[in-house]
């Protein structure tokens, strides 16, 4: 399969998001409490830092391997459609998080519903772009 720079970049973001936040949720969610604990915040910061490092290094490697980094009108159209899809997920997540904030004590569930839907929205944005790049926009 011959992937463009854009597709490789999207796969990198998808895999790094799943890896970093998958690890974060797997370690933090089992210990559910009322409020977010300091060590859980440290895990979050660690996940974000590792995500940023993975993406920066990954993009440097991809750019070295694949010199053609340009995008065109089709890439931009697909990006817009992906963002539109992510917008629906994020709006749903914000609404649900507000409901959770009214119905539960503390900030743990609220923060993680919001974070979970943000990650899901990112995955939907990237995933739908990957599908459209293969199947047509």
């Amino acid at each position: 399969m011959n992937l463009s720079f854009h597709e490789k970049s999207l796969w990198l973001m998808f895999v790094s998001l799943v890896g970093c936040f998958g690890f974060y949720f797997a370690t933090v969610l089992p210990a559910k409490g009322v409020d977010v604990m300091p060590y859980q915040m440290a895990s979050f910061v660690l996940a974000v830092v590792v995500l940023a490092v993975m993406q920066v290094i990954g993009h440097i490697v991809i750019a070295i391997v694949d010199r053609r980094t340009e995008t065109d009108e089709r890439d931009r159209l697909i990006e817009l459609k992906g963002r539109r899809n992510a917008g629906y997920v994020l709006a749903t997540g914000v609404f649900l998080a507000l409901c959770v904030a009214l119905l539960t004590k503390g900030n743990f569930v609220f923060a993680h519903v919001l974070l979970g839907f943000w990650v899901l929205a990112q995955l939907v944005e990237i995933g739908s772009q990957l599908v459209m790049l293969r199947r047509g926009a």
């Binding site: 011959n2 463009s4 854009h6 597709e7 089709r74 890439d75 790049l133 199947r135 047509g136 926009a137």
Partner: protein, 73 residues
């Protein structure tokens, strides 16, 4: 655009063949899009903007309707 039900078809593959078997990458470079976009246009998976369509017809030095056809399926 696209959505798999496009009524726009094209003869880009044949035109490339008759231009000394021009590759998709060569056409993409001359038009200013990626090779993947040329491939998607050829496979009728993506309908290009008017500007890109005109640039493609200019590369082959033929009228636009020789490259792209619009018809009911």
């Amino acid at each position: 655009m696209g959505k798999g039900g496009s009524h726009i078809t094209n003869d880009i593959r044949a035109l490339r063949f008759h231009r000394g078997q021009m590759t998709q990458q060569e056409l993409a470079d001359r038009v200013g899009v990626t090779r993947q976009t040329v491939n998607a246009i050829e496979g009728n998976k993506y309908s290009p903007s008017l500007e890109v369509a005109l640039r493609i017809s200019r590369v082959f030095d033929v009228p636009l309707e020789r490259v792209f056809q619009y018809g009911e399926r």
